[in-house]
Subunit: 202 residues, 2 copies
């Protein structure tokens, strides 16, 4: 028996998700076929809404919903401190600890000579536009403590050295080689508290 | 920061899939947000087509596409032999070995006193309607070789004993306690070849 065309298409589509191979995609597809049509409709609606309502904030590079960035539009946040992170998931990790109330800048990746990711491929330009506006007093570099994350932090720190702002790096409370996304909340909080100033304006 | 409503809905929807917990659903959702809109559209279309084009064949209980069951409508298949399986995935497993060319009957589950699954909850009635039509010479019971699968096979075998047809059970080439879906192709083929007749009409 040939595989059904509708099912093959669904399996191919599901295989695009992270961590989903052929076998998992098949299991999912047949599970979906056994769902009530209303449940499939809910999934369809959820996907459409995600596609239509979520985009990237042109200021901070994070996701926003219905053109409203919950970070950039929140004037109760400290407007003079900014944390630079690699990804939106890192932003979420920091938001979860509830001890930081400043701004964010999401790079969308780390510089990586080995992977061919250069300065034009991540959102560094946008960061400097924000620095030039002159409202920031401190930029905290919170890229991953991996080789690529360190490279990115050092590169940005060097460029920032000519601006009259403080630049800091997350404290090395995180284990080296670790990824920010998987850090436990306490370690992450400690590493923000104990950040080391690379340059400090008085 | 609150989680975006569109993202929460998507995560909830993805969590309904088999083997997908909170953390995996989150990863998938954020992966989906980073996809090109066309890729999301493909996924939406695939889900809709699966919902609209696939349903259950009223004869054999398997899936069919556009109201056409590829098994029941294929007159080149042996019309006098029928394999009873627990699920559609078991049917697919048998189709893959390419050595069986008869009909199927998908029960949609096994009898299970412990899980409260009784004779009315699986498609046994439909099987007996087909047996009563009188075209079948042999019914091969290919339910899982687990306790529930054996219970189901024995129950059906007992009811079939009053009809003038042969009834067989998959050979015990499969390891006991094993699930048909995960059997390797050779073992599965051997177990069909070496099936043991519970009753044989000459």
């Amino acid at each position: 028996m040939e595989e059904f065309q509708s099912v093959s298409a669904l399996i191919e589509s599901l295989k695009k998700l992270p961590g989903i191979g052929r076998k998992s995609a098949e299991r999912m597809a047949y599970q979906i076929l056994q769902m009530k049509p209303e449940k499939i409709d809910q999934m369809v609606t959820a996907l459409k809404n995600a596609r239509d309502n979520i985009d990237i904030c042109p200021i901070c590079g994070s996701f926003r919903e219905n053109k409203n960035c919950p970070i950039c539009s929140d004037m109760s946040r400290d407007q003079d401190t900014l944390i630079v992170v690699t990804s939106f998931k890192d932003l979420l990790a920091i938001e979860k600890i509830n001890s930081y109330h400043g701004l964010y800048h999401v790079l969308g990746g780390n510089l990586s000579p080995t992977k061919g990711i250069g300065t034009k491929d991540i959102n560094i330009e946008g960061l400097f536009n924000r620095v030039r506006e002159g409202n920031l007093k401190e930029v905290i570099l919170a890229t991953d403590l991996t080789l690529d994350g360190e490279t990115t932090a050092l590169y940005i720190a060097k460029l920032l050295s000519s601006y009259p702002i403080s630049v800091s790096r997350l404290a090395y409370g995180l284990p080296m080689g670790g990824q920010l996304e998987y850090a436990d909340e306490l370690t992450l909080a400690k590493s923000i508290e104990g950040r080391n100033f690379i340059k400090k304006e008085l």
